[in-house]
């Protein structure tokens, strides 16, 4: 089992990308694609952000830009499914749809789309009532998502279940619930679905972001987490993940283990 690092940086929420999207400037987008590639990203997340006038057009444009400079699969990050479909049309197969909640109409829109384009899905353990607090509720949603994957002809390997971590200074009691969810989600099917987290969320608004991110990531990995949407250019974080991956016996130790972890 490998750990999939999903590079979060090509997101219009960051000022440089937001500006680039507004002005259709390819440079920052392609630079971050290369930079995250070098750091070992398994997927490059693309989110047009709030500055895009036309989300469908911008998503397609950004995907084309990234495909020009990188062979790394793209994670299409949007709540607008037309924008995701526009991206899927220009991406290579093996893209990741980010994301779909456990709500029936949305599942019916997204899951067949994933099957059609040979894409994988980040599926969220929430519905229109919001994010549940308890692990039980999260796992309940995860189960619906695993069943839906089967229903629409997707394999467990095509599913990245995100049990949704919230900032620790807002909803501290969610952190252990997410860990328990991760433990249980890997029991839902054999082979198990993948799991992922929007890792940077956990430290949102705190002055200790890198420390909290990497500690929580390692804790989550011991509960089965095998992917994260994260800052892949945070060397300390990547080295912590490489070490955890090795100590979990997923990768054979060698003196250069942290270096080769980045070489996909």
């Amino acid at each position: 089992m490998a750990f999939y690092m999903i590079g979060e940086r090509i997101n219009g929420m960051f000022n440089d990308i937001g500006e680039a999207v507004a002005k259709f400037d390819p440079k920052p987008i392609q630079e971050w694609a290369k930079k995250q590639d070098e750091a070992g990203a398994a997927y490059l997340d693309i989110n047009v952000g709030p500055t895009a006038a036309d989300r469908v057009k911008s998503m397609r444009w950004m995907c084309e830009l990234v495909t020009e400079v990188s062979d790394t699969p793209i994670a299409l990050d949007s709540t607008n499914y037309e924008a995701i479909e526009a991206g899927l049309e220009v991406c290579k197969p093996g893209a990741l749809i980010n994301s779909c909640p456990a709500e029936r109409p949305k599942i019916e829109r997204v899951f067949p789309m994933a099957a059609k384009y040979g894409a994988k899905i980040i599926a969220l353990t929430m519905d229109k009532t919001g994010i549940p607090k308890s692990a039980d509720m999260r796992v309940g949603f995860a189960m619906e998502l695993v069943a839906a994957a089967d229903e629409f002809g997707l394999a467990p390997d095509d599913l990245f279940i995100d049990p949704l971590i919230l900032p620790c200074n807002v909803a501290q009691d969610h952190a252990p619930e997410v860990l328990e969810s991760l433990r249980q989600i890997r029991m839902l099917s054999d082979p198990a679905p993948h799991t992922t987290l929007g890792l940077s969320n956990v430290s949102q608004g705190t002055p200790f972001r890198p420390l909290i991110n990497r500690i929580y990531c390692v804790m989550a990995m011991t509960c089965g987490l095998d992917s994260a949407i994260m800052d892949v250019n945070d060397d300390n974080l990547v080295e912590a993940i490489a070490s955890a991956d090795m100590l979990l016996n997923n990768a054979i130790y060698c003196d250069s283990y942290a270096k080769v972890f980045r070489q996909r």
Partner: protein, 324 residues
């Protein structure tokens, strides 16, 4: 109701390495031998492909070996002459010739020079048609000197040069790169060192399809389970995508089996119930090879012609498709 066979799906595979070069490829070999390439665990043909049959290499030396009575009837007439010996190995069914340049060991009374070694290799190549692997005398500095000369003498033949080890790999890697040869990386039954060595060799600029691994074998009864578990773990790593654990593996079944008293001790020195030496020795080598074959060996360094016959028959059986 039909039974659904549960199949493991792997993402990686063992690197394929070609030994030797034909006339069209710039060498003089009659054929090449492909090693590795498997995308599944040993002989589970129903889960993946096993494109290349495990190969047999015959061990030959540039000086008379101390193999003694069990081998006198087979090699006694040729073991003073490496060229005659190489030709005999081909007649006995070698896919590959494995030459150990033991005579260049500086601890010997009249050690052969690097030039002598290069000449030996050249004459063997002129008189044989099988792909060749060459192991140095084992002394670090002399190894480097000898293998550099051998690499030059065999330019274009795509031989394999060994043994590169963690503390002595640069010169050998350079010699392999210069002559476009393969390299054999050896670690002392240590998977972590093996992986690190592969990384260092790769960083030198050697292409992945030029690397063969010798994780060092242990003979039957003398720690073969360690070799087995290392090879099994490396193969598993290769199949789940660890490219630095994905190189074809050579197993030293012959040399290791014949180090054991159980193989060579004559009847009068044998333990209770051991029986005659000849069948015992042959079986000891064949069983050592059979176990390492199950662990995922891609090429087998063998010694006794009768053990080779048994191993070949066993490989024939295991290579039969078992698709469901």
């Amino acid at each position: 109701m039909p039974v659904q066979i549960l199949k493991e799906k792997f993402t990686g595979s063992v690197q394929e390495v070609v030994l030797g070069a034909t006339k069209e490829e710039g060498g003089t070999r009659a054929y090449t031998v492909k090693l590795g390439g498997s995308s599944t665990l040993p002989f589970l043909q129903y889960e993946g492909s096993i494109p290349n049959r495990p190969a047999i290499a015959f061990e030959i030396m540039d000086i008379k070996p101390e193999w003694g009575a069990p081998f006198e009837p087979y090699y006694g007439d040729v073991w003073n002459d490496p060229v005659a010996w190489a030709k005999k190995a081909e007649e006995l069914g070698a896919d590959v010739l494995y030459l150990k340049l033991a005579g260049a060991d500086p601890e010997l009374e009249n050690p052969k020079s690097a030039d002598d070694c290069a000449k030996t290799v050249k004459v063997i190549l002129e008189n044989t048609t099988a792909p060749l692997m060459v192991e140095g005398p084992g002394h670090p500095e002399k190894n480097n000197e000898v293998l550099q000369a051998v690499g030059e003498a065999a330019a274009g033949e795509n031989i394999a040069l060994g043994l590169a080890e963690k503390d002595n790999y640069r010169s050998i890697a350079a010699a392999a790169m210069m002559g476009k040869h393969c390299i054999i990386g050896r670690s002392p039954v240590d998977i972590n060192i093996l992986k690190q060595l592969n990384i260092m060799i790769t960083e030198m600029g050697i292409a992945p399809n030029k690397i063969i691994n010798d994780p060092m074998s242990s003979g039957l009864g003398y720690g073969i389970e360690y070799s087995y578990s290392i090879m099994e773990r490396a193969r598993w790593g290769a199949l789940i995508g660890d490219k630095m654990m994905a190189f074809p593996v050579i197993c030293l079944a012959g040399p290791e089996a014949w180090r054991a008293k159980e193989s060579y001790a004559p009847l009068e020195e044998a333990g209770p119930g051991w029986g005659e030496q000849k069948p015992r020795g042959i079986m000891w080598e064949a069983m050592t090879a059979a176990a390492l074959l199950q662990a995922g060996g891609d090429i087998f360094l063998m010694r006794h012609p009768e053990s080779v016959k048994l191993l070949k028959k066993h490989i024939d059986d295991l290579m039969k498709p078992n698709d469901y």
